[in-house]
Symmetry: C2
Subunit: 324 residues, 2 copies
């Protein structure tokens, strides 16, 4: 008995040590994980042919569908709907006006039928017209309690544990991790530090214009209903160059919106890690790709296969999706 206990203890200790050494414990052993680890070793080992100095180790992560759930609708869209509802009392005209009427009636079909113009209208009505501090407060309040309709947990708990580990692993190896998202930059910054460990200055996203004003002698930045940058598709390399001024050596996405970011990263010198998360797990999360209205993975998938980019099969490659 004593011998058995001793054996069990050593097995437990060995498992503990092994897990302590594994920087990606939520990733199943296999080709995907091996490629990630090999890339990190190649660019960080001094003297290695593809060694990259720490200040050039830039990693760019898409957010929706890459770091957190984007189904059934983008979280920021859920926020927008909540804001329309919250502001409806101040806008009685919205009852008769599309696309607001559709939101207030919960008519998701009419909403989905609306195009980019309708969507932009909703965004501007809910994201502009206040100063940056006020908007940050609104986001912070909402995200503190808002829950995902299927998983019944906070949106900020619907983040992929394997990707959190990957970000932490890269940072532990001298990488600077950036978020490069089509989502609004000021929608992400208030919580990206706490949830992802990414400080506000490393969050790049779509944005609207702001204007400096003195309000009762106090300087504020008013949010204007005018688009500044759409940080999606070919806007992602534009955003990367504008904000970072150097090219990433690793880029992570999940949809056609990330294709140009991966192309831009791939075109730099040296070794790269280009990775797409493929949503293959309808049971633990969602399964979607080519035909999806949210986060379609089609052209980027073709290119990934043609060029040998890493394609993560969520179902096969990830032990867990969310942390408990």
């Amino acid at each position: 008995m004593k011998g058995l206990l001793r054996l069990l203890a050593s097995v437990a200790l060995w498992a503990l040590a092994a897990s302590a050494q594994d920087p990606l414990p939520s990733w199943n052993t296999g080709a995907t994980k091996a490629r990630i680890v090999r890339f990190v070793a190649e660019v960080t080992r001094p003297g290695a042919p593809h060694f990259v100095p720490p200040e050039q180790r830039i990693a760019a992560f898409d957010n929706d569908g890459t770091l957190w759930v984007e189904q059934p609708i983008y979280t920021q869209f859920a926020f927008t709907i909540a804001r329309v509802q919250a502001l409806a009392a101040r806008h009685p005209e919205w009852k008769e006006q599309q696309p607001f009427q559709a939101v207030l009636r919960g008519d998701m079909k009419a909403l989905a039928a609306g195009g980019e113009r309708e969507f932009a209208q909703l965004m501007m009505a809910t994201h502009a017209g206040m100063d940056t501090g006020e908007f940050e407060g609104i986001v912070t309040d909402w995200i503190r309690t808002a829950q995902h309709p299927r998983f019944h947990r906070l949106y900020t708990q619907c983040v992929y544990q394997p990707m959190l580990e990957l970000m932490a692993y890269l940072r532990a190896n001298g990488f600077k991790t950036y978020i490069v998202s089509g989502g609004g930059v000021e929608f992400m910054r208030p919580w990206a530090g706490r949830v992802y460990g990414v400080p506000p200055e490393q969050v790049i996203g779509s944005s609207i214009r702001t204007r400096f004003e003195l309000r009762n002698g106090r300087p504020v930045l008013m949010r204007l209903p005018e688009v500044d940058l759409i940080d999606d598709k070919d806007g992602k390399p534009v955003g990367i160059e504008k904000f970072i001024g150097r090219r990433p050596i690793a880029a992570f996405g999940n949809s056609d919106g990330d294709q140009q970011m991966l192309e831009w990263t791939a075109a730099g010198p040296g070794e790269h890690l280009l990775l797409l998360v493929h949503h293959t797990d309808a049971i633990r999360e969602y399964a979607y790709d080519r035909g999806s209205s949210v986060g379609a993975l089609d052209k980027a998938w073709n290119e990934a296969r043609a060029r040998g980019w890493v394609i993560v099969d969520m179902k096969r490659d990830w032990k867990i999706i969310f942390a408990n």
Copy 2:
């Protein structure tokens, strides 16, 4: 004799130790230096009432006239003139066309008489129409040899040694130093790391728009002749919020173009360091303020005096202007 030598040796050692302890050796002892040192102590001492965690220690530095010489014309304007000259052979029409004609004839009066529209024309003709990598190469080549007309040294050697020490001192105390300049972001990034120790992602400046394109299958970002951001005056707080997403606790400028940046910084909670460099030294550098056509210090000076911001008197406060 031996005693005297021993005494001399100890004095020399003491002086050495004192200078090793002085993080700002090019600053004369006095009220200005004392206020800088006191501010840094107040925000970095754990448990102090105004302690600021390292990640929130953001310092914003103007460039022209604050970190390097801006007289008799902005360095980027000298670059623009050199580019017009270099490109003239490809543009025979410029000989008859203002403002190009004025540049090619060296007619500085006609140039100065031209307004913002003429200036924008020169900028777009010389800063757009190539991809970002090409422009970086052009800047890098020019700045490697271009000399200041009065000091006969490289522009990158016309940087203020006391300000370099101040930046290094702040970084040694956990600050993240940013450049927030009216100058072009892609004009500064190629050399800001080497000269100021500021990496590209911490350089904020005026910018033109870029567009992602595939050129012979290779992704490039083409520079378009369209203004994206004028990072000057009330554009500085806009740039700060857009790029950093948090408010600096220290801001450094020298002209009315920096006033709103200092106001924005001053309006945050806690302690701040707000500082204006006043060019008072016609012998070692230049003396100018209210009436200057370049870097006028007028309204910001009034505000600095009314609100007790630090005003650096170059002649009195700085032991040296440039490093040898």
